[in-house]
Symmetry: C2
Subunit: 478 residues, 2 copies
């Protein structure tokens, strides 16, 4: 049943001036109201917090209230974490107070797969309908918005940015927001919808479609009641905002787990694929693939076409890099004669390879040389986007000691006049902690500067392929 | 032209008691003899080093010699790095001295794609044939063997172990050895063969097949003159040793680069695929995939069948984990009733999911619980191998502070009586340096303890799928 969330509703959920927490123990570590409240304080949430606990005077230094009725105002948002059996009464108490926007963390409803669980869910829905309550949940982490310091989970306080994330898994949303934030890729709004008994993923998809601050949408779906509504919404929204979607439960093993996880029916893989294709949604299959695609769409302008210029790599790696991009459906075209003539002037004959991919060690150690190559590629008609392999200096190589050129490279990029998209690959795989830390720091620096960055050529190629295909199809449809 | 390397030849190349370096500048940084010599000293090479330089008394503290003729003994191995034009005369000088095992670093032969380059290559080959010289190269990094501290490139001093690596790319070999060493995965012998003008990849494949210290072979190939010899050798060797192969230059872009890189003809992708299938070789496409497959074959015993038990993950991640393994052709079977009954006793009803995959937070914080689950899986007929997601504690999660349990977990594993293979996933993706460093350290600890470890579920699934299929096909053929 479609619910139309108004901007005012969205404001209550994602920009609450006050939050009541129902079901907050006084102390200790326990997943629930207290851990949510602690995270909100850590995040620097600046609105009014009302922990409800009849036995406490204050909790974490904040005045506690005996019940919702006694609160000095109607809270914008209520986070409910009491035991499942007590939920309906609590919703009624909220409604009596006038609070109509609730996040219900509590599990133990239809996802149990039992008759009792189904009955609990039905009662929950009828209670909300009777009192006109908008409820996110049950069995979920709820709303998240770094700009409002509403960050009781995921990256804390998080990074504000262009993403809108809708997820039927709290864990996936936490991982995604944390992962994105570490790379400077920000989230405008995220919502973990859980069982979606009242407000579901599609209600938020519709609202995110209308949200001017959200440029790219990421969805983790396990099941959807109303496939035709998904198709209709995604078709419309997808014309202006890419929707990157993971569909969990495509296998028997996955769908067995879905049934116990959110109670949703997983549906057949082929049907989902057809839906995604018809709506020009971007299906991905793993957390990594989700993040990579979101990063590409958030940071990379639509390329004119699919000619990639690959800069960096050694001999063998260049060969594989070329293969990798072609396998993903992009082109690694030969460069025109004038560009090749210019390249041959600067590329040493032995030990390097002038061409595309370009194998030339100097790009790792000489920012001006890299800038020169980028300028050259701007003028080369065959090139639509550039991929730069930022190899980290390693003991394994015969290379002179080189200081970290990341800041210098970003300065160079920020002042270039060219407009062709450029992305970076910084590979620091393996078990070497120093290399891993350096690689992460360099990736973070590129991401924070607004440049898409990937940890391997394979992942860059896949994300850029998705980017290109989305815009190519969109253009042909419009 | 097939060359049969004897054990004595292999000893000269990979266990040299003395090495002459021809073309060593006195000081400064330059890729070549001096950088090779410096790396050998760094690696702790304990044999006798003879730098050849007519103008120097000593180089890097080692007595220098005016020419090969004046050396006090016949060096086992000569590393030649002089300019291409001087190479034939230098080979003749070596031969006159009686030195017959040469590594030629110098580039500028047939890989140039010019008539002059072809002529240089032909002259090189005829010189070697006339003097009965075994030459690795030109245009390559040559032999590498950590056990002999023969490590002038790649991981230095490297880690000795079961791998034999043969590569037409020096860069790929350096990356692979460094990457593997960081995870405790060791190399017995590696060789970068370059243009392979005299000794080629297949000559070393044959020798590695006979080498009792090599258990798993990795190859990076760009082109092979003699496809039927590859097929014949691989068929024989592949019955006892898995051969994991990357074929570079499968795309136009890649093969354009191959021509300039080693001068080899790249051939058609479909033909290569047929060859690999017929020989039960394991084709991979990226450096990551190469490492992952080599790790699986080196560290994981053949599973009885393809039933995977996935331990860890949250709700949504478990769903995706199941999908991922099934997509890679493995099974994530339901567990039998007795196992499920035991699981339900220990898995909380709400917030976790008893089953396969198993979603249970306790496995991240309680080693005894993990051990109990592993024992349970040992007795479960549906399970052939286990995959454990070792989630690193993150600020994003609502979890109690947990000390790093890696050492405790390894102790637990080392004392378990079960025999089913178990592998680990430790994901520390993104731009957080601390998380990245922690993840790398944990992966290194598992790898050094002999447990296969992967940085994502997707990569684990792919590597294990390759492992399973190889043994399954091998069994059916024998």
């Amino acid at each position: 049943m479609a619910k139309r969330l108004t901007p005012a509703d969205m404001d209550k959920f994602f920009n609450p001036q006050s939050i009541a927490l129902v079901g907050v123990s006084r102390s200790g570590w326990r997943f629930g109201g207290l851990s949510f409240m602690r995270k909100l304080i850590d995040a620097g949430y600046a609105g009014r917090l009302y922990p409800i606990n009849a036995k406490a005077d204050d909790i974490l230094g904040v005045k506690a209230w005996p019940d919702v009725a006694s609160l000095p105002e109607v809270p914008d948002l209520v986070m409910v974490t009491v035991a499942a059996a007590n939920v309906p009464a609590m919703i009624e108490a909220c409604a009596r107070k006038g609070a109509r926007h609730i996040h219900l963390l509590t599990a133990g409803f239809d996802e149990l797969g039992t008759a009792a669980g189904q009955e609990m869910a039905a009662r929950l829905v009828s209670t909300c309908e009777r009192h006109n309550v908008w409820l996110i949940g049950p069995n979920c982490m709820g709303p998240y918005r770094p700009a409002a310091r509403l960050a009781a989970w995921g990256a804390i306080p998080g990074v504000a940015g262009p993403l809108g994330i809708i997820s039927q898994s709290g864990g996936m949303t936490q991982r995604l927001t944390e992962y994105a934030a570490s790379l400077g890729l920000g989230v405008e709004k995220a919502v973990s919808v859980g069982n979606g008994s009242v407000l579901g993923a599609l209600d938020f998809l519709e609202a995110f479609g209308d949200d001017p601050l959200i440029k790219v949408i990421g969805m983790y779906l396990e099941g959807i009641d109303d496939g035709s509504r998904l198709l209709e919404l995604a078709r419309g929204i997808g014309r202006s905002k890419p929707i990157v979607v993971i569909k969990g439960g495509q296998s028997d093993a996955g769908s067995r787990t879905v049934a116990s996880h959110t109670g949703a029916m997983a549906g057949r893989a082929a049907i989902w694929e057809a839906v995604f294709r018809q709506a020009n949604m971007i299906p991905v299959q793993t957390l990594d693939g989700w993040l990579d695609a979101l990063m590409a769409f958030a940071f990379v302008d639509p390329p004119r076409a699919n000619g990639v210029f690959i800069i960096g790599g050694g001999g063998g790696t260049s060969v594989l890099y070329g293969d990798t991009f072609v396998r993903e459906g992009l082109r690694v075209p030969p460069l025109g004669a004038p560009t090749m003539a210019r390249l041959r002037e600067i590329v040493p004959e032995a030990g390097s390879i002038a061409g595309n991919p370009l194998d030339m060690w100097q790009v790792f150690t000489d920012t001006a040389c890299l800038g020169h190559l980028i300028d050259m590629a701007e003028e080369e008609a065959a090139v639509d986007l550039m991929v730069v392999d930022r190899l980290i200096a390693r003991n394994a190589f015969h290379m002179p000691e080189t200081p970290d050129l990341t800041a210098e490279t970003i300065d160079m990029l920020d002042t270039r006049s060219g407009r062709k998209p450029i992305v970076f690959v910084v590979d620091s795989e393996g078990g070497d902690s120093r290399l891993a830390a350096d690689g992460a720091a360099i990736r973070a620096a590129f991401g924070r500067a607004g440049y898409a960055v990937f940890p391997s050529i394979g992942r860059a190629a896949r994300a850029l392929s998705r980017l290109y295909r989305y815009y190519d199809r969109r253009e042909k449809r419009v």
